[in-house]
Amino acid sequence: MTQQFLLYPLLWQLFLSIVLMFAWRHIQIQKIISIVGSAIGVGLSVALFYEVWQNGTLVVQAASWKAPFGISFVGDMLAATLVLLTSIAGLAVSSYSAASLIPARLRFGYFSIFHFLILGLTGAFLTGDIFNLYVWFEIIIISSFVLITLGGEKAQIEGAVKYFTLNFLASIIFLTAIAVLYGLAGSLNMADLAILIPQIENRGLVEVAAILFLVAFGIKSAVFPLYFWLPASYHTPPSAIAAIFGGLLTKVGVYALIRFFSLMFVEDVLLDQILMVIAILTLISGGLGAMVQTNVRKVFSYLIICHIGFMIAGLGMFTELAIAGAVFYLIHDIVVKTNLFMISGLIYRIKGSNKFKELGGIYKEYPKLSLMMIIPMFSLIGIPPLSGFWPKVSFIIASFDTKSYFILAAVIFASFITLVVVAKLWAEVFWKEPDKFPKKKHFLYFKKMTLTKRLQMILPILMLTGVSLYLGFGAENIQQLSMRITGELMNTEHYIKAVLPNN
């Protein structure tokens, strides 16, 4: 019976998005349904997490087709954790967008599409079938295309063209990789493939499939040579949408990389080396990109790229500690990046701009809010004891263990660059004496908002800041969780046994 817990978060999001369609023109009702529904979604994800924590991996075979033939849904510790984080980020952004988006944008089914996006993310984490993963990825990108173009401003459309093209290309490459792998192994089930792939004699073609998967997920997670679509598009939609994109869309690519390269393409030295080189270049190029930007959201966009590098580095080193670090960093990054983009939206509401030269003096006006906003930024840098610090310790120890000193240098360099960027941001946005700029006429400034709306904007940020603080101060629990996830990932027999009990 408890197996069904696996499908509840998934079905609940689908149910929500369909219900929201019936309230198409009634924005107030949609807001209430979305916020309350997201809160229930968090409850369901907590139930799933608790169930997996207590009883181990849950598996549901769709329509009771036995494992390699039907589609399996697998809730192991990693998937359950990410589903929980997705629902928490979803709740925060749902409440935030109810207050920060203007009604004109909400009128065209925003909340419905938003829940479809969460549905796609949840499905991508839970599925145990590569073609089904492709379908979830498509659901994610179709919803994200709608969200990124909603409103149809000039900058948005221009960003959307680039976003669309690269993501469509990534899907085609993903499909090509699936075709090659199916031709070789004759199966689509991840657990089954984990058994079949080591037995394939044509290693050259296996490498080709692995590289194709790497490129497809690399585009989605914005790693070094493939990231140009991200800074060109992420600052164009409203910040509520950018928050869910920045927090979760690139991380689902990282999740897929972790899953594929720890389960299916395991003993591959070449691949590990490629991953390490990519990680180093991503860390450096993302960090340097962030240095030169003068727009708050563009800075955060480049920081997303930079910090993807940490997780890829962990995956590339492939020791137990490194993978644990990557998992911890993934957990930390989802919370912090979502929060940062919501903060950029708050700055926009306060000042009416996101450009450094038009900003300044927020600390003087709102000292308490500013202190709240500095916490996620500090945990982004990794100032002890906040959440970014602990996984970096794992990375540094792991890089000594594997003697990969270039990774060590890149990790330290990227952390330092992040510190410089955040310091610069703090000085420009919060401390600097602002120049006099004419106020925009038809713009709802933060000061003029009603108290409920202000709370709706601040509470989600406060909530995610609280989660960040917990990740930092409760690091022992999170490290324990990461080690358990790593144990499950490194020991693939566990996953295979859960899905294919008769094998």
């Binding site: 073609f131 379908v135 900058a155 459309i157 469509f168 085609i172 090509t176 199916y182 004759g186 164009t236």
Partner: protein, 117 residues
């Protein structure tokens, strides 16, 4: 037959990529459509082509005695076609909107957001 299909797949991929590298938005869409068809054909080809052997178990036996055409690639292609059809129609509308808003179909001129910095 397989040889011809392999060549065909290669041509479709190459043509699609070439069209995607052009600056015109309309050619970009055509490129995406062509490369999508190439991917579908590849799935079909790599699922092994079997002629005249439908995957139906004869009434008097309980399992396949002979080789049969694999139905899975066809199901995959069907799904992929439906999905890419949706994406393509979205792309066409997006390009139309982009042309209306930006007044150009040249990708190089769609850079107002970069200039702001």
């Amino acid at each position: 037959m397989e040889f011809l299909l392999a060549i065909m797949t290669g041509v479709l991929y190459a043509a699609g990529l070439y069209m995607m590298l052009r600056r015109s938005l309309v050619k970009l869409i055509i490129g995406l459509i062509i490369i999508g068809n190439g991917a579908n054909l590849l799935i079909f080809l790599l699922g092994r082509i079997t002629k005249g052997a439908p995957p139906i178990i004869p009434g008097d036996t309980k399992f396949f005695a002979d080789i049969y055409a694999d139905p899975v690639p066809q199901a995959l292609i069907l799904t992929a076609i439906v999905i890419s059809f949706g994406l393509q129609s979205f792309a066409i509308i997006l390009v139309k909107r982009a042309y209306q808003v930006v007044k150009t179909d040249d990708l190089d001129e769609m850079n107002t957001i970069e200039e702001e910095v």
